[in-house]
């Protein structure tokens, strides 16, 4: 056991991000391997951390040897370690994938791209690992600032989309900071574990209520919970494909993680569920997000924009699990953090690969792709089935737990919402699959030989992450029982 493993998870990408800038100055080609090494090391460290947590329980790491509540403390329990592994693994896959697409889309900015990429991952990992509310704010802003810059490098509409994201993201982060300030006024502490000890005596204080409200609104903006999602579709549509593949699976999931932490660790479940009816409000907002996201996705022709709206609806699923606030619902929510990260990763990677090969991204233009890129499209179908929720894929299991949770909570409306959204997703994805697979070939082949379909699979550096993501979707589905029994059942906050 390496005692520093949990701090290495964050420090390695941070240091390598600046090494990137240094070595990139001399030779651009070095950036890609440096990034891969950093993320691979970080992934190994996070795996080691998860392993340590499973065998010997929660890890407390005091930075610089200062004891909490004065110093900053990293606390890693089952929930953290689980999300850490997801974040570092997804980031590694996207980094492998990014080689070709960055060379094509941002040929002059490779050095800065990888520098920001690693900073972005540092931000995500730091948010997840820290046990200090103010430190969390700093990491949240590191992640957001890197994200703004990365999104702004995209195609034509990207700077404006990114600007809107800056405005919304800043409001979100400032609200979060105000929440921290209000809690500090009444408790005099910033440490999460310390706060959860002090706060129960102050639950009826108005200041605590205001702080809680600021936290929730701030985090909801960051995780794009309907109706605060307006920045998301534009930003993720116009971003370079490697950037949307990194941000789409992770930013929203990390936001969901912060929400779970604040509602059930900083505050006790008793406060969030019984004292103020915030979970039921969240449940209804989530139901709105699920339906709205799916309906808006139906209206899109642009494949990437459609995925962005599906992401809005997926955020709804996770929030619904939090809003149900019972054991099954939270199991579903935490499992969905894993499943949705991989589903969104696979979908955005595939769309990026399609755009790389053909430059096309509208649904009617997808035809014959199953002949040109059979493996890529196979992964697209697997991910689509998973979003719909067909049994062997992982999407089914988290939906199953969410439905069980809704039944436990006696909220039949939410069961109906979950089923309707599955039906909407069927329509959504069969539109794409129909256009890709079922377009008759005979009528076009008579036109001329220039339409002869050649096989143009995506390049190997893109194909490997896509296949791993697809395999992940299948295997997490098969192994979901094991994941729940070894990790998630301990990750559910105390009090359920």
């Amino acid at each position: 056991m390496i005692p520093q493993s949990c701090v290495l998870v964050v420090v390695i990408p941070l240091i390598f991000s600046f090494l990137n800038l240094l070595f990139g100055w001399f030779r651009r080609g070095l950036c890609y391997p440096i990034t891969l090494v950093a993320l691979a090391l970080s992934f190994l460290a996070s795996l080691h951390t998860l392993n340590t947590v499973i065998t010997s329980g929660t890890i407390h790491y005091y930075l610089g040897g200062w004891n909490p509540p004065w110093g900053i403390e990293y606390v890693v329990d089952h929930l953290n370690a689980f999300v850490l592994v997801i974040v570092s693994f997804v980031a590694l896959l996207v980094a492998i994938y990014s080689k070709k697409s960055v060379e094509k889309e941002l040929p002059e900015k490779i050095v800065y791209f990888y520098c920001l990429f690693l900073l972005q991952v540092t931000g995500f990992l730091g948010i997840v690992i820290t046990g200090d509310l103010f430190n969390l704010y700093v990491f949240l802003e590191i992640a957001s600032l890197a994200g703004y810059a990365l999104i702004a490098t995209g195609e034509d509409g990207a700077p404006f989309a990114s600007f809107n994201y800056v405005i919304f993201g800043t409001i979100g982060a400032c609200f979060y900071l105000l929440g921290v300030g209000y809690l500090y006024i009444v408790t005099g502490s910033l440490n999460i574990a310390d706060l959860s000890q002090i706060l129960p005596n102050l639950y009826h204080s108005k200041v605590v209520l205001v702080a809680f409200a600021f936290f929730l609104v701030g985090v909801s903006i960051k995780m794009a919970l309907f109706p605060l999602h307006v920045w998301l579709p534009d930003a993720y549509t116009y971003a370079p494909s490697a950037v949307s593949a990194l941000l789409a699976p992770l930013m929203t999931k990390v936001g969901a993680y912060i929400m779970i932490r604040i509602m059930f660790t900083v505050f006790e479940p008793y406060f969030s569920i019984e004292l103020i009816p915030v979970t039921s409000i969240l449940g209804w907002m989530a139901a709105g997000a699920i339906i709205f996201g799916a309906v808006m996705a139906l209206a899109q022709i642009d494949l990437k924009r459609m995925l962005a709206y599906i992401l809005v609806s997926e955020v709804g699923y996770i929030t619904l699990g939090i809003g149900l606030a019972n054991r099954n619902g939270l199991t579903g929510a935490i499992l969905h953090i894993l499943n949705d990260a991989f589903m969104m990763l696979a979908l955005f990677l595939v769309v990026g690969a399609i755009m790389y090969r053909s430059g096309k991204r509208e649904i009617p233009q997808l035809r014959y792709l199953h002949r040109k890129m059979p493996l890529t499209m196979a992964v697209f179908v697997i991910a689509a089935l998973s979003v719909i929720g067909i049994p062997p894929t992982c999407g089914f299991f988290s939906k199953w737990y969410l439905i069980l949770g809704a039944i436990d909570a006696n909220k039949w409306v939410f069961v109906a919402v979950l089923l309707i959204s599955s039906l909407l997703n069927v329509i959504l994805f069969f539109r794409c699959i129909e256009s890709a697979y079922l377009e008759p070939i005979a009528e076009h082949s008579s036109v001329g030989s220039e339409l002869a379909i050649t096989r143009e699979e995506s390049p190997l550096t893109m194909l490997i992450p896509i296949l791993i993501a697809g395999a992940g979707i299948m295997s997490f589905g098969v192994l979901s029982g094991k994941i729940i029994s070894t990790i998630i059942q301990f990750a559910i906050p105390i009090g359920f």
Binding site: L145, F163, C174
Partner: protein, 126 residues
């Protein structure tokens, strides 16, 4: 009532400043005005944090000749709280970088659209 406002005037200024900034961020159509609003919003938060640290009659949290002579009890009420100030140092750094990123993005927008009016940009995008 008047007394209530006057005795906590710094918090009232924080609220008013924040609302002005918030309005500018949401309501103004010019991108640079939005950024100015964002800056006001963030500055209001700094004011809020610094206000929470202040104490009437409090002095700097430095103990004179403290080393070795620190055995006597320290009266916390006589010193202003340094921690919010330190937090704000970090927050100021974050806010400056946000401002920098926002301004850089505005330059990129201006290069592509040749305008900073939101309506005009939206019209061009259609």
């Amino acid at each position: 009532m008047f007394d209530f406002i006057l005795s906590k005037y710094n918090y009232w200024i924080y609220v008013i400043l924040m609302m002005i900034g918030f309005y500018a961020m949401i309501g103004k159509r010019n991108l640079v005005k939005k950024i100015i609003g964002m800056n006001l919003f963030q500055t209001a938060i700094i004011l809020f944090f610094v206000s929470t640290a202040a104490k009437r009659g409090g002095t700097l949290p430095i103990i004179e000749h403290g080393h070795g002579h620190g055995a006597h009890a320290i009266e916390a009420a006589a010193y202003i709280n340094p921690l919010p100030h330190v937090l704000m140092l970090t927050a100021i750094v974050v806010m400056v970088s946000t401002l920098g990123v926002a301004l850089a993005i505005v330059i990129a927008i201006y290069r592509r659209h040749n305008t900073l009016e939101e309506d005009e940009i939206l019209r061009q995008q259609k």
